[in-house]
Amino acid sequence: MPVDVTLPTQRTANPPGPLLAFWHSFRENRGAVIGLTVVSAVILIAIFASVLAPYDPLDQFRDFTRLPPIWSEGGNWNYPLGTDPLGRDMLSRLMYGSRISLFIGLSVMVVSMITGVVLGLAASWFGGIIDVIILRIMDLIMSIPSLVLAILIVAIIGPNLTNTIVAVTIVYLPRYVRLVRASALSELSKDYVTAAKVSGVGPLRLMFVTVLPNCLPPLIVQAALGVSDAILEAAGLGFLGLGAQPPAPEWGAMLADARDLITSHPWVMALPGIAILITVLAINLMGDGLRDALDPRLKRS
């Protein structure tokens, strides 16, 4: 006897889409929202530096050298954050400097993420000797202290902006490779991958379209934190005279330039450091929020 089983139709609201769900949990974290706001502001400043900055970063106003910022005695409203010993406007230099730092941070992140994804997926897919070789090379990179490795690379290829990016990218590559390899390996043993294989999906499509999206959450978190680490590392290289070369308004190089002025004109030294700190802190706040929202397992650490 056929039984007419009609399930009671449930009327539930549509579950929120992944993006919306992400935004909801991201928004709860006050620090993350502050971080996001500051990062957006820095990005806007970097994009519109040529409009926002009052002067060219390299213009020297020889009649107005070493002006203090407006809040201290003798400040001049024409130069809100004062001028350096060559009479260059600090505010303009800092604004243009954000371009350099963000450019370094983002390019390092993009290049090392793409390379890391390719190498990590290759290591997990091929296994065997290829896996071993890739892992050994990453071990080697990690056994040399980050800044020392960057110094080695810069000593070989010479100090300038592009080479800073190359050096810092190599330094941070292992993190991405190991992360992608580890999560791809755990995904590869799951049923949906077997199902995809059985239905005849080719290796390239399998790795990049089927497996990769499932490895993304930790990768995105790593990428966000990677930007701030890269900015710090590049500023350190700039400070040691091995990064972007003067007169470029790179924050680290500006700091190194101002080292001798520490007692006489402390603001010339203090301001670029504050700019680095604010930018890096904002990105890290945002990264923490991203981690909490994307990967509940990792919690807040």
Partner: protein, 337 residues
């Protein structure tokens, strides 16, 4: 355990070989004439050039040169500095104690402050202490330490006059023989009045600067590890049987929470040495980090080559020791993989 040890040791061999290869290639890749790069001589006659090429083995095939390089390294021959003409091994170990002293103090500072901070934050989860401490920790983690060092010099030394600006000891006032190379110990051995305090005063700022980032990492790590452990059943049991909170947190929870933290501390040697490069440069601390940077400025490539080889070997060995001890304490690691 023995197999685990053997496997870990075998894994470091290719890393060492690759490291030797990279440092060997480095000196051939730097721009400039190889003789000039390696000997610092320029504008020399063709006869002298041929003589030098032969002397340095540059007329040999590359694989032979590499084998000679490896052979030399295995026998403690790390080359000779262009500038001082001293063996690099000798220069390195003359400066290395200064770096060790600074790094050990920084790590001690980071641990002694970081772990309590993390524990307090975890036990007051979400509260004012937690938010303040973690805010400070994140700031420390984001700190450009070269700027932090200069700011501390500006405030502590130039404005308040509390600490000296640079160096390890006031050489005008105190002189004592280098026994261990560690100023804190040497000054005590010398028995000179005030020497120890002077060495300590010189150490304060560099220690704070180098310790800031590890401190932040340790505090964050301790907090998250504690939060995890505090959810465990045995913590609830301990609470339920009426143990005072400080015993539950300080003994039951902390002991187990510390395992990942200790690993992080052990494995932070590499990043500590990277930080030491910047810290030593700011404070004119006569260690290997400052020496490396100066070698670049002097184009002393053999020193750079030997220095990188030695520092990296040190990091590899320390990481290996940490791994082995960890495997010794925690059998689960030994049998994994």
């Amino acid at each position: 355990m023995f197999r685990f040890l053997l496997r870990r040791l075998a894994l470091t061999v290719p890393t060492f070989l690759a490291l030797m290869f990279v440092t060997f290639m480095m000196i051939r890749l730097v721009p400039g004439d190889p003789i000039e790069v390696r000997r610092g001589e320029r504008g020399i006659s063709p006869e002298r050039l041929a003589e030098l090429r032969h002397e340095m083995g540059l007329d040999q095939p590359v694989w032979k040169q590499f084998l000679d390089y490896v052979w030399g390294l295995l026998h403690g021959d790390f080359g000779v500095s262009i500038i001082t003409k001293n063996p690099i091994l000798h220069e390195f170990f003359h400066l290395f104690p200064a770096t060790v002293e600074l790094s050990v103090c920084a790590l001690l500072f980071a641990t002694l402050v970081g772990i309590p901070a993390g524990v307090i934050a975890a036990s007051r989860r979400g509260g004012l202490y937690d938010q303040t401490l973690m805010g400070i920790a994140l700031t420390g983690y984001s700190m450009p330490i070269f700027w932090w060092g200069l700011i501390l010099i500006l405030i502590m030394s130039n404005t308040l006059g509390l600490t000296p600006v640079s160096g390890r000891v006031d050489l005008v006032k105190y002189y004592y023989p280098q026994v261990t190379g560690l100023m804190l110990i040497d000054s005590l051995i010398s028995g000179q009045k005030g020497a120890f305090l002077d060495a300590l005063r010189h150490l304060i700022l560099p220690t704070i600067v180098l310790g800031t980032v590890p401190l932040a990492i340790i505090a964050r790590m301790t907090r998250s590890s504690m939060l995890e452990v505090l959810e465990e059943d045995y913590v609830r049991t301990a609470r339920a049987k009426g143990l005072p909170p400080y015993r539950v947190i300080g003994i039951h929870a902390l002991r187990n929470a510390l395992i990942p933290v200790v690993t992080v501390i052990g494995l932070s040697v590499g990043s500590l040495l990277a930080g030491a490069v910047l810290t030593e440069t700011i404070f004119s601390w006569p260690g290997v980090g400052k020496w490396l940077i100066e070698s670049i400025g002097r184009r002393d490539y053999p020193a750079l080559q030997g220095g990188i080889m030695l520092i990296s070997s040190f990091v590899i060995v320390v990481n290996l020791i940490v791994d082995l001890t960890y495997g010794l304490i925690n059998p689960r690691i030994r049998h994994a993989r």
